[in-house]
């Protein structure tokens, strides 16, 4: 496992998750931190686990100004789900992996959406699922790029 790349990739993910976007694109912002976590759990399931996911989630909470522990919970759930099925996912072709990304990140954003609805205003439509779609679409590219970087 490439530790410097791991740290760097999460830092870039943090940057991308708060970077200013036009209002129309904001709904479609992929869940970068969850995607990077996805990659690392698949690469090193024996080392990357709930602890890292939870810590990254807490930092993301502070960064996004959400309730303390919300992203921590949802990312820990992502890590847990992946850990239970990483052996199968690794065998999947990229397109099928994308589908898994959609399901797992869908669960992630749904959890966040529930808690945010309980504590504040959320529109009652399905727009909260858009990040899951954009994450699934970007997954193959991200996987190839990360894989390439990982070899150095």
């Amino acid at each position: 496992m490439n530790i410097p790349l791991l740290i760097l990739s999460f830092l870039v993910a943090f940057l991308l998750s708060v970077i200013t976007l036009p209002e129309s694109l904001m709904l479609w912002r992929p869940e970068w931190a969850a995607l990077i976590l996805f990659y690392w759990v698949l690469q090193a399931p024996e080392k990357v686990g709930l602890g890292l996911a939870w810590t990254v989630g807490l930092l993301l909470d502070v960064l996004e100004g959400t309730l303390f522990g919300l992203n921590a919970l949802s990312l820990a759930v992502v890590a847990y789900l992946l850990l239970t099925m990483h052996q199968r996912i690794k065998m999947f072709p990229l397109l099928q992996q994308s589908l898994t990304v959609f399901m797992v990140i869908g669960i992630n954003v749904m959890l966040v959406h529930w808690v945010k609805s309980l504590t504040g205003y959320r529109p009652a439509d399905m727009t909260f699922l858009f990040p899951a779609i954009s994450s699934a679409l970007i997954w193959p590219i991200l996987y190839l790029v990360m894989n390439r970087l990982d070899r150095y």
Partner: protein, 290 residues
């Protein structure tokens, strides 16, 4: 997994209901501030490039423009000083409290909240610069919002357009009080609980009333753009256009409350307690000039 889930849920609950976690949050938040600056970097670089490679002629032109503008503004300030003195004399005669003078610090918006349903921006001044939670934030044209979270070198500002935000205001024309709510859209606010018979018109300027004790008196909040009477509803549906351009401002002013000027507070020290009620009743003549 179970342990982590329970721990997270406990954190969420504690953070929602209490403020025990604020120090931890503040420390972590200070650590993460460089990320916001990283996000802002392209803008900073492009501005630096623009400033460095600008032509001499363009600079001279701009300088002249600014000079001309400064003279006009200075002339207006002179008038304002005279008016301000007159207002405080008149208020003294009425035994009303003195007008509190505020000092401001300029700050820059470095990032916005990534959640499209939360209207929050991050500014580059933190508690090192004296920022505190609840501090009012102004733009050049009007009220922008208030500080909700402070870390070392940055703070979060909740905009008045957020759906969880409300501002006590008064109609500048006649002093009628009401409350403006955000509706989650940058270009629109809503004036609520105003009866059909109330004296309010399209085009009325709404200014802060200072009644909540949070915002200073007399800053423009917005203008009434439309009024609708829906059958069966006891109140009017009034839409307000915010005075500040909430989605495109770059610089904001943090307002620090200052003690009343000594000249103004002499003699009105006791009457202020007695006439605390009457204070908000008088409209602010100076606000009309702003």
């Amino acid at each position: 997994m179970l342990v982590v889930a329970v721990l997270s849920l406990a954190l969420i609950l504690v953070d929602y209901r209490f403020s025990y976690l604020d120090p931890a949050r503040r420390t972590l938040s200070s650590l993460m501030t460089p990320i916001y600056h990283g996000v802002d970097l392209p803008y900073v670089v492009s501005r630096w490039v623009g400033n460095t490679f600008v032509s001499h002629a363009r600079l001279r032109e701009e300088n002249e423009e600014l000079r001309a503008r400064m003279i006009v503004l200075e002339a207006q300030v002179q008038k304002m000083v005279a008016l301000g003195a007159e207002v405080s004399r008149l208020r003294d005669l009425l035994n009303a409290s003195a007008v509190v003078d505020e000092s401001v610090v300029v700050s820059e918006i470095i990032s916005v909240n990534p959640d499209p349903y939360v209207h929050e921006v991050i500014i580059n001044k933190g508690y090192e610069a004296g920022t505190y939670v609840g501090q009012p934030v102004l733009g050049a044209q009007g009220l922008v919002g208030q500080v909700v979270d402070v870390s070392r070198h940055s703070s979060r500002v909740l905009l008045i357009s957020d759906s969880s935000h409300a501002v006590p205001v008064q109609v500048n024309r006649n002093g009628m009080r009401a409350i403006v709510f955000g509706v989650g859209s940058h270009g629109e606010l809503e004036l609520v609980n105003v009866a059909e018979t109330a004296d309010i018109k399209v085009g009325d300027l709404l200014v802060t009333s200072g009644l909540g004790g949070r915002f200073p008196v007399g800053y423009p909040v917005g203008t009434v753009t439309s009024m609708e009477q829906e059958p069966g509803q006891p109140f009017l549906r009034i839409r307000v256009k915010p005075a500040a351009e909430l989605d495109r401002i770059r610089h904001v002013l943090l307002v620090f409350k200052r003690e009343p000027l000594p000249m103004l507070s002499t003699g009105s020290g006791r009457s202020r307690e007695e006439n605390g009620q009457g204070r908000e009743e008088h409209r602010q003549p100076s606000a009309a000039e702003r």
